[in-house]
Symmetry: C2
Subunit: 406 residues, 2 copies
């Protein structure tokens, strides 16, 4: 193991100012640097690291690990069972190398990537709902101030192997919600994610992409330009340091960040075993509203959505208004399918049924045909005449306008 | 009002034997005849008629009405509030005409239509769940013994304005369920209903059509041949007497019979205000399981199904196996989408992620890349070597088979 030392110069380069533009104190620098180091040491979602950092702060937690590597680990640190803490140190130790950490920081500086930690005002409080699984820091490509504009935010996710149908829905939802000031959070993958980001950008809204690897490494490569555009007006976020590869584990952990940043998650299209179901699972675990867009049952690309409806009690979402409802927002478009008074039940219907549009009928005849008392029929006919839906010539009646049954 | 009298000759012609082939007693005849008369007097779902018949039997209930028409109504009959009973008599009186009732019976005799009442062994007990809204009798075109073969039965209903998608699903569900001995109940309308009946017939199964009008009047006319085929192996049922027109009110009431005869109801395709939602509402009121098949959110023909999923807590049904599940039947096709062990989470994934398929890596390297302790990594590598998914040359390892992420 290389000797590890505090690299004050490196951290000053990465985090010269707080994201809000104010200078950092020396103590701030130390904590930010320690958070950056932690993002190199622990894999995303490492709850032992999270608990240790929660209890001691990132700087003292890191000193504890360095001590542990030298065999002087305090047995009762942060109330974490000593076995777990020792196992943690064994996990983190292989990565506690000054050179590789310095290299990750160097990559961040080169790429203009910002470090944001829970000490910063722009830290998204929504991430704290992850408890010990919250990230220790975020690496941000783009303006970190965007992180203050994620309320409300919606996670729109789905299959890479999307159909035209799914991409159409993703575009429609993202454009409409982004246009209403809802930030669109997704994972920058091909298919649904890409369609959602693109439509949010086109609508002039805020969109944020969470990457599984380092934010300096556009992934997928085919979305290099899309990610550049997202960073220009929104942000590209990751919790692993620059230069890190997007592994399958990190994809799964990345999904928890998408679910946590969204005030609600909507899965637009997903195969039976799509990774989007993992995002949905995180949203449900966090108690965030979860929606799924149905599709043809003959389409494998909607099978995962139907599974969410069947097995995970997801809300069926068919319009962007219904997606907005998950966020507690009112419908933007009014109630398009406003209920008309349903006159298809009850006595009125029976009287109307008993009238003919062509033949004139007596009240007695209408009473017999409708199975109602004569006096009742007469009362309804009077109302219907006022409304212009029935007409009489003397004692004989006919229907003027008839609604269609189904 | 014409004088009303018991028409013993007419009733003997309609119901010469019980549906099971045994002769009827004189008392039986009287009750069957009275039930037939009641089906002429009261509109479907008339709860006052239902309560009166429940309390007194159809024959004494009818005598009570005849007395009521003469102004000698017993004020406390069957515990029904006198006002409601008097209102009932006023409703029924216009239809208490010997000629028109005799004509309805004559039509039934001519068309070979059977009368089935709750006194008959083949009466479907499921209808009794409707309480005072249960029909007083069923008019049956076809073999009444079919009514004993409706357990289990599924109601498959949907829009007349069905799409190819909806008709395809209706055919698939009906064929599969009918082939498994489930009776398919529907309403003989164009679109979904017709597709379900046809597929059930093609599968050699039992199918039953509920009509809103008289069973001697094929409705819609374009389904005259289909209704003939349904009657030949199954049954065409109605609660209004022969010659009656299918009014909108009767369609809505007919829907309660479909819902009651089905052990579960599945709406396959339905517009936002489809009459199928009325059937679904009856199923829910009866406590019968209710399913809805999702479709594209861009299809108006699925809007009603999505409404059922959103507003009525219907179960999302995507396969005939899932429809069978609503009936408490096991899946016929095994678990097609059987869960494979999900190895995408946990340490194994992280070790696999850290291996390369091309480059050989040391255990220390794999430990660093996976963020795990060396000893743990070694244990996993040992297991993976046994399973053939990792291979080593001395101290260096590589991945042999990699699963695809999503």
């Amino acid at each position: 193991m290389s000797a590890f030392h505090w690299d004050a110069a490196a951290v000053r380069a990465v985090v010269p100012l707080r994201p809000d533009g104010t200078p950092r104190s020396v103590a701030d620098h130390e904590r930010a640097y320690a958070a950056a180091v932690w993002s190199c040491l622990a894999e995303p979602g490492d709850a032992v690291a999270g608990a240790l950092i929660d209890a001691l702060g990132p700087d003292d937690a890191l000193r504890e690990v360095i001590a542990g590597c030298r065999g002087t680990l305090a047995a009762d640190a942060a109330g974490i069972p000593p076995d777990e803490l020792r196992a943690g140190v064994r996990r983190w130790q292989p990565r506690l190398e000054a050179e590789s950490i310095a290299f990750a920081l160097h990559l961040a500086v080169s790429a203009g990537v910002h470090l944001v930690t829970p000490d910063d005002d722009c830290w998204p409080a929504a991430l704290d709902d992850l408890g010990p699984h919250a990230p220790v820091a975020l690496w941000v490509r783009g303006d970190p101030a965007v992180l203050t504009r994620l309320d409300p935010a919606i996670a729109l996710v789905g299959a890479r192997a999307a159909t035209g149908y799914g991409e159409h829905i993703a575009e429609e939802f993202a454009a409409d919600l982004a246009g209403r000031g809802v930030a669109v959070v997704s994972g920058a993958a091909y298919g649904i994610d890409g369609a959602a980001h693109r439509a949010a950008l086109a609508a002039g809204g805020i969109t944020v992409a969470l990457l599984a690897g380092g934010v300096d490494r556009p992934y997928p490569a085919g979305h290099t330009d899309l990610l550049r555009r997202i960073a220009a007006s929104g942000a590209v976020l990751g919790e692993v340091p620059c230069g890190s590869a997007p592994t399958r584990w990190r994809f799964l952990q990345r999904n928890r960040l998408i679910a946590a940043l969204g005030d609600a998650t909507v899965v637009i299209e997903a195969g039976w075993r799509s990774g989007s179901l993992n995002t949905a699972g995180h949203a449900a675990t966090l108690g965030r509203p979860l929606g799924a867009v149905p599709g043809p049952v003959t389409s494998g690309s909607s099978a995962g959505c139907h599974r969410l409806l069947r097995e995970f009690d997801a809300r069926c979402v068919t319009t962007s208004d219904e997606a907005a409802e998950l966020l507690g927002l009112d419908a933007a478009h009014g109630s398009e399918r406003e209920e008309r008074e349903d006159d298809r039940t009850g006595e009125r219907t029976r009287v109307s049924d008993a009238l003919s549009a062509r033949a004139w009928r007596t009240v007695d005849d209408v009473a017999r045909r409708s199975g109602m008392a004569t006096a009742q029929v007469r009362a309804h006919l009077g109302m219907m005449a006022l409304e212009g839906v029935a007409a009489n010539e003397g004692a004989r009646w006919r229907r003027v306008v008839a609604g269609a049954g189904d």
